[in-house]
């Protein structure tokens, strides 16, 4: 008689990487809908391009690296990467932006570093930063939210615009695109126009953040809170990122409200909330100890602010995440939790 003798434990929670990633995707759905509501079909088209590219690249890389294809193709992580990157790409950007960005993210950001679990940098942000540096013009021309100017482009029109660059008669890309609120404030400030003046003369600003953006932010927030509730992510990183961003922007805002945006503006414009809940929390590249996660999150919040206000790029989340990725192993090493029965070091 031969009995199986696996080692303990003999039972396991009903969980898997695929399930974790599916939850992340589910949490992104409200944000995707809200985003599409304000900016049209562009995001969905970008997601489609990015996801297809990502899966194709993943497949190719797995074959080249001679790794088992099925488990890795179905783990879902690559789709999450693709969607997060798509969020960072302007809605009607030419198709090759999403294509190149995702390709770079998967091939260089993920697989050349060793694939799932081994990449020190967040692949989506690797792709994003590459795009931002290489194609600054394409990456910074956003559509205005339809609350400002209702373009009402249909699906086919949008598709056409993405793939051929042609817009319906009477529209030109330069004519309809606008900067993001963060970008706008930055360029205006460079010309010595205060935030108050900018806000008054442009219709891009809403109640507390960028118009449209603020509501997308709310939906992202909702998804993020659900992820915490479902224990997919811990509260440490989002709270630390948003908290530190809030505090530092408050300090400067109180010093000079004309020159520095309000805390709410910083939280609800651009990718701060998405970054805090979905990008900075990418487990592979983040810090992993509880205290480490807080330090890591604070680092991202502060760096984001610094880059936004004094750096050369309108939004700093991407760079901040990559920089803190670099620091994560060190942070982990110095923030080991106290082990039962040991004294704190």
């Amino acid at each position: 008689m031969s009995l199986n003798t696996p080692t303990s434990p003999h039972i396991h929670d009903d969980t898997s990487v695929t399930k974790v990633m599916l939850r992340v995707l589910l949490a992104l759905v409200p944000a995707i809908i809200a985003y599409s509501w304000y900016f049209g079909w562009g995001l969905l088209i970008n997601i489609a391009i990015a996801a297809t590219t990502a899966l194709a690249c993943e497949y190719t890389m797995l074959m080249l690296r001679q790794r088992p294809v099925a488990p890795f193709m179905t783990d879902g992580s690559i789709v999450v990467t693709a969607i997060l990157l798509a969020f960072c790409i302007p809605p009607l950007a030419p198709w090759w932006i999403a294509f190149l960005g995702t390709g770079f993210a998967v091939v260089v950001g993920k697989h050349l570093y060793g694939g799932l679990g081994y990449n020190p940098f967040n692949p989506a942000m690797v792709g994003y930063v590459m795009l931002l540096i290489s194609f600054p013009k394409e990456m910074t021309t956003w559509l205005p939210p339809n609350l400002v100017q209702d373009l009402n482009f249909g699906f086919l029109t949008s598709l056409n615009a993405v793939f051929t660059g042609n817009l319906p008669a009477g529209f030109s890309l330069d004519g309809i695109t606008a900067a993001t609120p963060l970008d706008l404030i930055k360029t205006q400030l460079n010309q010595d126009i205060t935030i108050t003046e900018t806000k008054n003369s442009y219709a891009l600003f809403g109640d507390f953040g960028g118009i449209g953006w603020e509501w997308i932010g709310n939906w992202v927030f909702l998804g993020g809170v659900w992820l915490i509730y479902k224990k997919v992510i811990n509260w440490h990183i989002p709270v630390a990122v948003l908290g530190s961003l809030f505090v530092i922007s408050l300090v400067f805002f109180l010093m000079d409200a004309d020159y520095y945006g309000s805390p709410m503006f910083h939280l609800f414009s651009g990718a701060a909330i998405l970054g805090a809940f979905f990008i900075a929390t990418d487990p592979v590249s983040a810090a992993t100890t509880p205290r480490g996660r807080i330090i890591y999150g604070i680092g991202i919040g502060l760096l984001t602010y610094i880059i936004r206000v004094w750096g050369g790029y309108p939004d700093g989340i991407g760079f901040a995440v990559l920089l803190m990725n670099l620091a994560a192993p060190t942070i982990d090493y110095y923030t080991q939790p106290r082990v039962y029965g040991h004294k704190r070091k």
């Binding site: 009995l3 939790p337 039962y340």
Partner: protein, 546 residues
């Protein structure tokens, strides 16, 4: 009165599966045809057989005597004849065999003598009590099997709190629960005896809050006996609430120092089953020959039985309506920390609390896992679940990289192998298996290092002796030659001898230079080391994911 509880960190909530086996009252299991009594059922040195093949034995008779202080005797659980003394399969994760006394039972169950006179434990000194408990063969029945008398020492009155562990946090296991429900009075009696032996001022009985009936019975028994120094507390149902260190933290708020013992913070922790056994031994003169065992899983009738020590697991499975032909896995202990048996002909021993049967037909209740693990995604679920506060993902990482000193930096040896990390890991990595592998490798290396240190010392010693002898020989030669030289008159001869001596001295000098340690190895040693290295290279580490 409510005691303030202190939660330990981490832990997991598990499905309990305790209802099935707690529906019917405990009955004695059938007396099997043969009983298999391993000489070692406890931590410490094995007992020594005191019977011979062919001897008739009576129930309760000593068949193997304790050897040394960290050891307890083994008693015959029923009457019969010693059929054999020799190697037999024993319940051990390794699947190894060990020396057992095999008794053919006669079904008469005749006791060795009339039950001993009733003893009031108050009449005995703590020292006498400990000896009586030891002679009754009692070890910790909660799982570890440490001889109980050693944990009942009143030495310097250090024990302030005696904790009775009735948490029983692993799924399926219900023997302690049924014991508390059915034998509460005896359990409390045992507690009393232990307290007397320890001279402990207060006692706490901790029971998980998923056992209301057990709690009720125990509370009644405490009240009935008017024991105002005993506190019965309900602890939250979180695995591993019944882990000794976790339980101590929950009820006292204190942590057992690393590498220390509970006694260092004035606590001693015993299992409720041990208390019952002690009560039977002291009050009724019965040595430890049976215990409560849960039989659960793929059997027609899951239940708790009072089982004679030595009963083959296969008998129990059949008695509870399990099919021996369709067994795929039999776990001794719980699903989180228990181990899979290699054979179902192994006996129940003193530490066996549960037999969990898995059938190959439906692969329930412990479905096998797909072999495919994904890489660690560093999600931290494991470190959130670890009750010790370790970073399982780092332990795993460094184990895979075979960086064993780093693994120890991350406190590998504080890991209690509770399995929480493994349970929650979304990548399905067999984490605990990696930690066992790392621990074993480190122990192995330590042993090898010690061995090679010893042999190196020996070798150096030998080398030194050879050198000394050589020196002495040279010395003697020199003297002889000097004598010769004195005789010789001719100068040129002298010069020639001088030159020869010069050469000899040079040669001596070169041979006198001590070679380095590694160059000094004998051929055999070198071969041995190469062999070890090769074996290590080849050694199949734990399953690696691809």
């Amino acid at each position: 009165m409510m005691r303030r509880l202190f939660n330990f960190q981490g832990g997991v909530k598990l499905r309990e599966h305790k209802r099935e086996s707690t529906q019917s009252p405990v009955i004695p299991a059938n007396i099997p045809k043969t009983l298999i009594l391993p000489l070692q059922q406890h931590i410490g040195s094995p007992a020594v057989a005191t019977v011979n093949v062919g001897d008739k034995v009576l129930k309760g008779q000593v068949v193997a005597q304790a050897k040394g202080n960290v050891s307890v005797p083994v008693h015959a659980p029923t009457s019969g004849k010693v059929a054999a003394i020799g190697k037999h399969n024993i319940p051990h994760p390794s699947g190894l065999q060990s020396t057992c006394i095999i008794i053919e039972t006669d079904g008469m169950d005749i006791e060795r003598r009339q039950k001993s006179r009733f003893v009031n434990h108050k009449d005995l000194s703590p020292e006498q009590l400990r000896e009586l408990i030891r002679q009754s063969g009692i070890v910790g029945l909660g799982g570890a099997g440490f001889p109980s008398h050693l944990k009942l020492s009143a030495e310097r009155n250090r024990v302030k709190t005696l904790i009775l562990n009735g948490a029983e946090c692993e799924p399926y296991i219900t023997c302690d629960e049924m014991l508390m429900r059915e034998q509460a009075i005896e359990v409390i009696e045992g507690l009393n005896i232990m307290r007397h032996a320890l001279q402990a001022p207060r006692c706490i009985i901790a029971i998980e809050n998923n056992k209301p009936e057990a709690l009720k019975e125990i509370k009644l028994a405490v009240k009935h006996n008017n024991l105002d120094f005993v506190e019965v507390v309900q602890v939250p149902t979180v695995y591993p609430a019944g882990g000794e260190k976790q339980l101590i933290q929950t009820v006292t708020g204190k942590q057992v120092p690393a590498q220390g013992l509970p006694i260092d913070i004035g606590v001693v922790c015993h299992n409720v089953g041990t208390a019952y056994a002690i009560s039977r031994a002291v009050e009724h003169g019965e040595p430890l020959v049976s215990r409560y065992v849960t039989v659960a899983g793929s059997v027609a009738k899951a239940r708790v039985l009072e089982v004679l020590i030595g009963t083959p697991v296969s008998d129990l499975i059949e008695e509870c309506g399990g099919n021996r032909k369709t067994l795929s896995r039999v776990i001794m202990g719980g699903p989180m920390m228990g181990f899979a048996l290699h054979n179902d002909d192994v006996p129940v021993i003193k530490t066996t609390n549960c037999i969990l049967v898995n059938s190959s037909i439906a692969d329930v209740p412990l479905p096998s896992r797909s072999k495919h693990a994904l890489p660690c995604i560093r999600c931290g679920a494991c470190s959130d679940a670890c009750p010790v506060g370790l970073l399982p993902q780092q332990l795993y990482w460094h184990t895979r990289a075979k960086e064993f000193d780093k693994v120890q930096d991350y406190h590998l040896f504080d890991c209690i192998e509770c399995g929480c990390c493994d349970y929650v890991c979304p990548s399905h990595i067999p984490l605990v298996q990696y930690y066992r592998y790392a621990k074993n490798t480190i122990w192995q290396q330590d042993r090898e290092k010690k061995l090679s240190d010893i042999s190196r010392q020996r070798h150096e010693f030998h080398k030194q002796r050879l050198e000394r002898e050589k020196r002495e020989r040279a010395e003697r030669h020199k003297k002889k030659r000097q004598a010769v030289t004195a005789d010789a008159a001719q100068d040129d001869k002298k010069a020639a001898i001088q030159a020869a001596m010069e050469r000899a001295r040079k040669k001596r000098e070169t041979t006198n230079t001590m070679p380095k340690n590694t160059e000094q190895l004998t051929e055999q040693q070198q071969k041995h080391i190469t062999e070890i290295d090769q074996r290590r290279e080849k050694a199949p580490g734990p399953r690696t994911e691809s």
